[in-house]
């Protein structure tokens, strides 16, 4: 029974990796991967020498980091709050509503974001209404707002969906533990800190490690749909740069090099996070 799985990984996951060597070549489709001339680290050097390299790195890191520290705990908190709800109907209603954005196409999401953030849009009207601002803000052309919009909309998109796995973990906690706690006189807060949280901690940590492992993979499609030259300062990330440089100009070797660079960093972070987790707690990926 193991064979199909092994075959799957060999054919679809490992064999394509061979193609990654075009990052070290001057790839020409008419010569093929093997016959294209080697160029060593030239493609990597071109990337590192780019005027915007440091800014790209910083933007990529910040955007992912903010997503991680805001969206990750928010999903957990949302799951915990849902879990505390006693009204079953309200609970499932809230759950369904929070899932919905996950199923909307990204193009539509971005259209909605653009509409919401317009000078006459819902966000500006709201802020004007409660008197926080006196003049509408052009959110999408001001670089200082880009990360907030990116992370904020990301939270709206994925909060509900991400909480599912916690809800599953929560339902796996033995109910007799709670009964025992109640008998011992523990309130809801004590139950939360002493039973619920320790109960789902392994899940949380595993998810955290996995998230760290993809830290630098920011959603480039959303950024491309939302950014403009006015917000490049904070919005331009490695993947949008690769899109503009590599894909638009069919410069595959260069994009492969940047992609490889991205993966190496991700891999390093994953190993680090796993090691830290294994040292400090008992859960780890391996």
């Amino acid at each position: 029974m193991l064979l199909p799985t092994v075959l799957y990984f060999l054919i679809f996951e490992y064999k394509p990796m061979y193609g990654a060597i075009i990052a070290f070549k001057n790839f020409n489709p008419y010569l093929g991967i093997t016959d294209s001339p080697w160029v060593g680290f030239k493609n990597f050097e071109k990337f590192f020498e780019s005027y915007y390299f440091l800014r790209l790195l910083k933007n990529t890191f910040l955007m992912s980091f903010y997503s991680l520290i805001f969206i990750f705990p928010a999903s957990l908190a949302f799951a915990l709050l849902l879990n505390e709800l006693r009204l079953k109907k309200l609970k499932s209603f809230l759950q369904t509503v929070s899932y919905l954005p996950h199923f909307i196409s990204l193009i539509v999401i971005c259209g909605m974001i653009i509409d919401f953030t317009k000078p006459g849009g819902i966000i500006n009207s709201l802020l004007l209404g409660i008197g926080l601002i006196s003049e509408p803000i052009q959110f999408l052309i001001l670089p200082e707002w880009f990360r907030t919009i990116y992370v904020g909309s990301g939270m709206w998109q994925s909060l509900g969906w991400n909480s599912i796995i916690y809800l599953a973990a929560l339902s796996g906690i033995n109910p007799s533990l709670y009964e025992a706690a109640v008998v011992d006189g523990a309130g809801r807060w004590k139950q939360l800190t002493n039973i619920t949280l320790p109960g789902i901690l392994p899940t949380v940590l595993i998810l955290l490690i996995l998230n760290v492992g993809t830290l630098l993979n920011v959603g480039w499609d959303k950024i491309i749909l939302l950014y403009n030259p006015g917000t490049y300062v904070t919005a331009d990330v490695i993947s949008t740069f690769v899109y503009r440089r590599g894909v638009m100009e069919a410069n595959y070797s260069f994009s492969a090099a940047v992609g490889l660079f991205n993966s190496v960093i991700n891999f390093t972070l994953l190993v680090l996070a796993n090691r830290i987790s294994r040292k400090t707690t008992e859960s780890s990926l391996w």
Binding site: N28, P29, Y30, L31, G32, K46, S50, Y51, Y52, I114, K118, P119, Q138, L140, I141, N228, P229, G230, Y232, V233, D236, R244, R245, V247, M248, E249, A250, N251, Y252
Partner: protein
């Protein structure tokens, strides 16, 4: 436009149709003098076809005696009606005339991506269509994907060769730095048809406010200001957006030449320059900042980048001026507002004159377009492919591609092809351009010669009696626009990475200055920064490429 030019323009179609008549009637003896020797050789070399043969400008028909199938890749795009190009009557007729069947392979995805995929797959059809052969053909040609066509043209393409001889500028426009021709382009041979986008303003607003059509940049400022402050649409609200656009480039094409520069590369006395790297560019930014600051330029121009949002602004009667195409902008808006607005009228404005007297129209194409057909190196029938391509440039092919099949979509009236009424005024719910595409590929988007009579008749059918494009031919300066230069691989390695960063920097900085987030007084710093980023190295390569181009 002066009288002599107008006469020439009138004369051209007559001349063309005369040639058409001659070549259509003559059966074997159509060497009209220009293509003497090589044609005769070709005729000797090709075997006598079994079907009733004829020659078109030296090309012998049918091209093959036994039916041959060639494959052609093309994104479907807007010229796609039915399931396959072979459903267009013009291509059916073409198959009958040439005895070559084309197996059209259409992509359904976005064309640029589909094209990249096709080219990197290595499995190529005989003939490939692309929008960007002007810059791509050299690259793919050097990689070995495309066939160099010079010898084939010499031996097998009498019609195309004649065009090259009669229009000596074209050869340079399609030759790669290594000296090869890798694609056959769409051609426009009349100068009045070269204009592309142009400034358009609400004539009814101008009349209502008692203004004149703007002639200088100050006129433009005053007009836009009046639009905003004097309630041009008369709804009592200050909701006018005087100048709308889908991108900064269009606004730059409108105003930068008035200050003696371009937004990108341009030529000044034979010297290639980069607009943002020119001290004069500060004046452009200052001017645009003034427009933006007083809300004369759409404050949303960075976000509202789709044609849809622009159309909305125009059709809700808040937009005053823009820079756009004749048909898709001016024609569309006029049709959309018909019956919905009592006075709606758009008029073309001449390119504005700047404070130092600079006045130039920059949005025009070259005779040879960047789009066209290339021959893949994998083809097994290079000669037949070349002959079939040459047929697209024969009088018969030009008529088929532009007008369709005689008697079905057009009639010859006194030797002039005139569209049937069913085409110019279709009753089947299609626009006339769409209906025409049932019959032909449309001469402007194919490797053929775009016939000026096509646009003329559609324009008249749409109720536009004057050609707005004629207004601009006097302001077109061929010497100051950078021609479609091509780079060698080595030059490309210098230019591409440097320009990627420079363009990002320029777009960021210029927009920030227009929006007032960065000080314009510091423009020297921008130029210093561009120098640091290697603009001089880029300009050096451009200069070399330009001189090579001129030398051709």
């Amino acid at each position: 436009m002066n009288v002599a030019k107008r006469k020439l323009v009138l004369l051209l179609p007559i001349l063309l149709s005369l040639v058409t008549l001659v070549s259509a009637c003559g059966s074997s003896n159509t060497n009209t003098g220009n293509t003497a020797d090589p044609t005769a050789e070709v005729q000797k070399a090709t075997q006598a076809p079994t079907k009733e043969g004829k020659t078109i400008g030296g090309l012998q028909l049918p091209i093959v005696s036994d039916k041959l199938e060639l494959s052609l890749w093309s994104p479907s795009g807007g010229n796609f009606r039915g399931t396959n190009f072979n459903e267009k009557l013009s291509f059916k007729q073409m198959e009958e005339n040439t005895n070559i069947h084309i197996d059209f392979q259409h992509s359904t995805e976005a064309s640029a991506e589909a094209f990249s995929l096709l080219m990197s797959s290595g499995k190529l059809p005989d003939i490939i269509y692309n929008d960007l052969w002007g810059t791509d053909s050299g690259k793919y040609g050097t990689q070995g994907a495309l066939l160099p066509l010079e010898d084939l043209i010499e031996k097998n393409a009498p019609n195309f060769k004649k065009i090259l001889v009669d229009n000596p500028d074209i050869r340079g426009q399609i030759t790669s730095p290594e000296g090869h021709i890798f694609y056959l382009p769409n051609l426009v041979l009349d100068s009045q048809d070269l204009t592309q986008m142009f400034p358009q303003v609400r004539k009814d607003w101008i009349d209502k406010l008692g203004l004149n059509m703007p002639e200088t940049t100050e006129d433009w400022y005053n007009m836009l200001k009046a639009f905003r402050e004097q309630d041009a649409n008369g709804n009592g609200k200050k909701d006018e957006i005087p100048l709308v656009t889908v991108n900064l480039e269009n606004i730059m094409m409108l105003f930068a030449p008035a200050f003696g520069v371009d937004y990108g590369f341009f030529v000044d006395n034979g010297q290639v320059k980069y607009g943002p790297n020119d001290p004069k560019f500060k004046d452009v930014v200052t001017y645009l900042h003034r427009l933006y600051d007083e809300q004369l330029l759409d404050p949303n121009y960075l976000v509202d980048t789709t044609f849809q949002t622009l159309t909305e602004k125009v059709t809700t009667d808040v937009a005053g001026a823009w820079f756009g195409w004749s048909g898709s902008y001016m024609g569309n808006f006029t049709t959309l507002m018909e019956g919905k607005h009592p006075t709606f009228k758009i008029a073309p404005a001449i390119p504005p004159k700047g404070p130092n007297g600079d006045q130039r129209h920059v949005s025009f194409r070259w005779q040879a377009a960047a789009h066209g057909l290339a021959v893949s190196s994998r083809t097994e029938h290079p000669e037949e492919v070349m002959k079939w391509l040459d047929y697209q440039y024969s009088e018969e092919g030009i008529l088929l591609n532009n007008f369709g099949v005689e008697g079905k979509s057009y009639d010859l009236v006194n030797g002039e092809p005139i569209y049937k009424k069913e085409v110019t005024h279709p009753t089947n719910g299609l626009t006339n351009t769409q209906e025409l595409l049932n019959h032909t590929i449309g001469g402007g988007s194919w490797a053929t010669v775009a016939d000026t009579r096509y646009a003329e008749q559609i324009r008249e059918a749409n109720g536009q009696t004057e050609n707005p494009l004629e207004l601009y031919s006097d302001y077109i300066d061929f010497d100051s626009k950078l021609p479609p230069v091509q780079f060698t691989t080595e030059e490309n390695d210098v230019v591409v990475p440097l320009m990627a960063d420079i363009q990002t920097y320029v777009a960021e900085t210029i927009n920030a200055m227009i929006m007032g987030r960065q000080k314009i007084e510091d423009y020297d710093k921008v130029m210093k920064q561009l120098e640091k980023m290697g603009i001089n190295d880029v300009l050096k390569e451009y200069q070399v490429a330009h001189e090579r181009f001129k030398g051709k």
